[in-house]
Subunit: 204 residues, 2 copies
Amino acid sequence: MTLCDIGNTHLHFYQEGRVWACAPQSLQVLEDEVFYISVNAQHTTALLEICPNAKDLSPQMHLASKYEGLGVDRMAACLGLRGKSGVVVDAGSAITLDVMENGEHLGGVILPGLASYCQAYKSISPALDLPPNLRVNLDRLPNGTADALGYGILQSVLLTLKHLVGERKVYFTGGDGKFLANFFPQGLYNGLLVFEGMLATLGV
Amino acid sequence: MTLCDIGNTHLHFYQEGRVWACAPQSLQVLEDEVFYISVNAQHTTALLEICPNAKDLSPQMHLASKYEGLGVDRMAACLGLRGKSGVVVDAGSAITLDVMENGEHLGGVILPGLASYCQAYKSISPALDLPPNLRVNLDRLPNGTADALGYGILQSVLLTLKHLVGERKVYFTGGDGKFLANFFPQGLYNGLLVFEGMLATLGV
């Protein structure tokens, strides 16, 4: 059995603990039974062209929540807690934060992803088109552009996450999850959280 | 005498307390003596085509600072405090924050502007291409996309500004300055701060 999490940039695959990512134009035939969830219709079509029997897992996915329009990837990551209470932070092209309490989803927040901030600065002005320093010292006022940009991104993201996390346990996933988890003493990184939710949905 | 603050979107003019903004392609001839500062070379060329005698004020502008690459508009806004201590927040296409103490610039931070956040979300995914609710209640966890996006923008910007402002006085300027000033009991809005700095430079 192979699981596929179809995102806006890549398709992420999981097979017996092994994971890999693929661009939609580089997909290869899978002989296996494939279950997928998707937030990108175009990339879903790409997968179905290669694996016409792949099954959409989202109709089987249930999460108690009042949230309208919760993405299926966020839902899967929340189900990946398998009933544990805590905060889920998925730091990819967007940074989503979702609060789970006794199996119930209480709400969530969306921030731009770290790369999206860089792109935003670049679009504002050529003067801001340089790599923000994300290793900036947050205890000092920046005195240069790379530090000022890095501080803007990192401090604003961290203050928002810390404000919402409070004393709760926080589970990070996604491409920038490991980096962000470093700033939280009670932070855990689990790159497989979305797949955990898909496995839980399949009763595995 | 007319002052012109050339930005990345508009050219802003000041004449005896009257202010107006102009797109670079809609400039009209000015009979007056014109002093300008600019962060956009292309728009400067547009002004000089219409007003060939306009004078660049930036060589006369001096601000005590260790910051490397401080934009001339940020410098002008800081000089607009005319020696008062406090924090300057210019909320336009970017949100810049600069700390002034006894006439000295201690450093600063750059965040994307409010409109730039909306553009960033839109670029991430069509699912995030909707107007963020910037009137969202920050005391509750969002339960829908427009609120989750609005919370992400507003809370992250406000927490960062509040963290840096502390107990200091804070002077807001720029297109979104009035809106953001509402969240600060010690906040003052002055849409003319950059022009104040230009006037101070001219000894007016």
